[in-house]
Point group: C2
Chain length 130, copies 2
Amino acid sequence: MKVSTQVTSPNSVIAQVLDLGSGTFTQQCPTRTLLDHVTSKWGVLVLVALTSRTLRWGELRRAVDGVSEKMLAQTLRTLESDGLVLREARPTIPPRVDYSLTDPGRELAGHLVPLLRWVAAHADATSTDH
Amino acid sequence: MKVSTQVTSPNSVIAQVLDLGSGTFTQQCPTRTLLDHVTSKWGVLVLVALTSRTLRWGELRRAVDGVSEKMLAQTLRTLESDGLVLREARPTIPPRVDYSLTDPGRELAGHLVPLLRWVAAHADATSTDH
DNA sequence: CTGTATCCTTTCAGATACTG
DNA sequence: CAGTATCTGAAAGGATACAG
């Protein structure tokens, strides 16, 4: 009859905060993978940039300052396979490819925008108070 | 009065979406650093875990499944220096250290919780439709 | 214009061992 | 209990060249 101080499952705290079944956001959970995609360095910025409107490859590259071609391509492929971004290639010369948010992508971006607004508003304060 | 297709600054798209001055979230912008901290692999989970209540080191380690001691320490130091997490060490034997959210940290976590809820709700769908 | 392929450097991250 | 220090392999990321 052991009354341990740790009766609950490993990550119960996070699951509890989110009102979800225990086991969510454990290491093996698929949520972890998706979370890493959407919170990736470039993923966040791409999703937010596409909030305004459909953008072409070149426009995206300029919108997301500092991204390399390699990382932009990789990020877009990931987000597309996650069903968050729609890629539409037109077989014209010169080629033209449009990127836009899917419905789920737009929903997600809706959560990211206020987050980035908060970050922008507090970046100065946090960098000066240490 | 030039009405070119590209009159605005490099990353104007993102600044426009966020209703902020052009230049926000450029590569050199301090917002980028803070954004990377709060959207880091372990940072997000630590902040959400601390939403429920103050947690001790050992509790945090169990709450954030899969994190190594090294990464937990590194993440906590970063979040503390950003003014998001408060660290309170008690000089007792054995040592006890409490971690909690500061007011800004709590505000930020308020944006992260709905994001993680959305991710949890869509993880299955996005992983099966490719 | 829209990418892909390759190389190379830097950073991330886990394992292990050790300290107060 | 709550960390730090060091080592090493894996992964991210950038630069360049090139292709459709």
